[in-house]
């Protein structure tokens, strides 16, 4: 195990933390979901605007550590324009790659909080698309 954590607060992370992308709320989101990292208290809400099987817009709100908030900001950037189906198959590893800083297991939980919110939301979307003509 290494303690080379020095690079985790690189400019990219601090940029997203200090000037987050799409922090705030959508006027009428297709879906929204909140979670907390019960260990450190990070809070996060994600709101998606979905149309044509694609995420059109993504906003987040929350508070907590730089890693969880920066990751949420990057995630919003990442998901916009992507197909729901593609995102449903997105592995956790990809989220960590987007973050691109060396996170210890406990800080990975922060980095993956937004991702977890996204996944929970996408899985619970399962039913509506499966029964389109109600």
């Amino acid at each position: 195990m290494s303690d080379r954590l020095d690079d985790i607060y690189d400019d990219h992370i601090l940029d997203h933390f200090e000037s987050p992308y799409h922090k705030g709320h959508l006027p009428c989101p297709s879906c929204a979901h909140s979670e907390r990292n019960p260990i450190c208290g990070d809070q996060l809400t994600l709101e998606l605007q979905i149309a044509d099987g694609k995420v059109q817009q993504a906003f987040f709100d929350g508070k907590g550590c730089a890693i969880s908030q920066a990751a949420a900001s990057m995630l919003c950037e990442h998901v916009e324009g992507r197909a729901v189906e593609e995102l449903r198959n997105m592995p956790a590893k990809q989220m960590l790659d987007i973050l691109n800083v060396p996170l210890t297991p406990s800080r990975q939980k922060c980095g993956l909080l937004g991702f977890k919110v996204l996944k929970t939301m996408l899985y619970s979307l399962d039913e509506p698309p499966a029964e389109p003509a109600k």
Binding site: R36, T104, S106
Partner: protein, 428 residues
Amino acid sequence: MSATVRDVPITAAAIRGEFPLLTNTAGGDRPLIYLDTGATAQKPQAVIDKITECYEHFNANVHRGVHPLHERITAELEASRKKIAAFLNTRPLDELDLLDDVSEIIFTSGTTMGINLVAQSWGRQFLKPGDEILLNPLEHHANIVPWQMIAAATGAKIVWCPLTADGRFDLDQFDKLLSRRTKMVAVTAMSNVLGTLPPVGEIVRRAHAVGAKVLIDAAQSAPHAPIDVQAWDADFAVFSGHKLYGPTGIGVLYGKLELLDEMGPFLGGGNMIDEVFDDHSTYKRPPFKFEAGTLPIAEAIALGTAIDCVQAWGWDVIHRQEQALLEACHERLEVIPGVTIYGPSVAHKGAIVSFTVEGIPAHDLGTSLAQRGIAVRASHHCAKPLHKCLGVDATTRASFAAYNTLAEVDALAEAIVNTQQMFFRRRG
């Protein structure tokens, strides 16, 4: 290190060599003959070393910090949890559960705690007056008293399923007693007195057919045979670390995730909460919901090492040696006049032999065997209802592990005969 993969199967003698206490001479100059594994197992060097390593190299509290020390201890603990899950053959979890760190493996302080947890958390929620909890006389007090307590609290009723004349689980009687009122069947996978091996999978199948849940007490069976919660389809299963060559102070509760998710918490405290309000709190998902407070951390980690050891030895070698010891013990003891062995024949039991010797109280026999260097247990073995069935107050129990030798069985038989000679020396 004991826990590496071997090409050639290990021998029972090599297993014995891993246990420092068995090569020490305890309490004098006689070698120790330890025939009390049923009470607690001896510990292999690897387990003892792991505890030392925890405290000397990465001691910290878990799930709470971000220092490499914190990361390391948490990783070790969670690795042990995964080992235990594999050891019990739990089913794979889905992606979201994994992201939530959900697990069906709950660390407890032991079997007793695990059963009390289920009795209280599941019982208070799901038992109503008139519901039945089905027990049988093979059960250890740990699998009786918690059910009596929750029955008294909820109005549920304890129903006893009698044994066969030779001390086996009676499936016919079981069928007769099972009904829609049966809500819980709590059954041991191996009697700690008779060695009886109830047909766990079949019991679960029949209990599920009437909608009952089943808790398997694997405390006594765990060191002797695999636990396969999927094959058994068990709802709950419990065991203790200290009987599985691991440390004291640690045990495991397995529960099906959907049941654990439904149940309320047992102990309240740190790490199990999601949010704390003035007058109530909300809770995390399993396992954390049931792991209030600081865990037995070093103990949980070293239990993982104990499981490594068992898997390195292999069930085959363990079983073969224990079976040889069991057969030899029956053969040697059955020919001693005045000795009565209780329970089923060798074909239907694990490596435990409980017996009485006519005219010699169990406690005195125990002392006399101790004088001869042999550690057994002489008592009701926390199974009073069973001893009532057997019609004796106490028995003397020899319980074996793969580290025991045939010479030790011989020594036991000889010591019994010597005790008879000593006790009856003034008779004709």
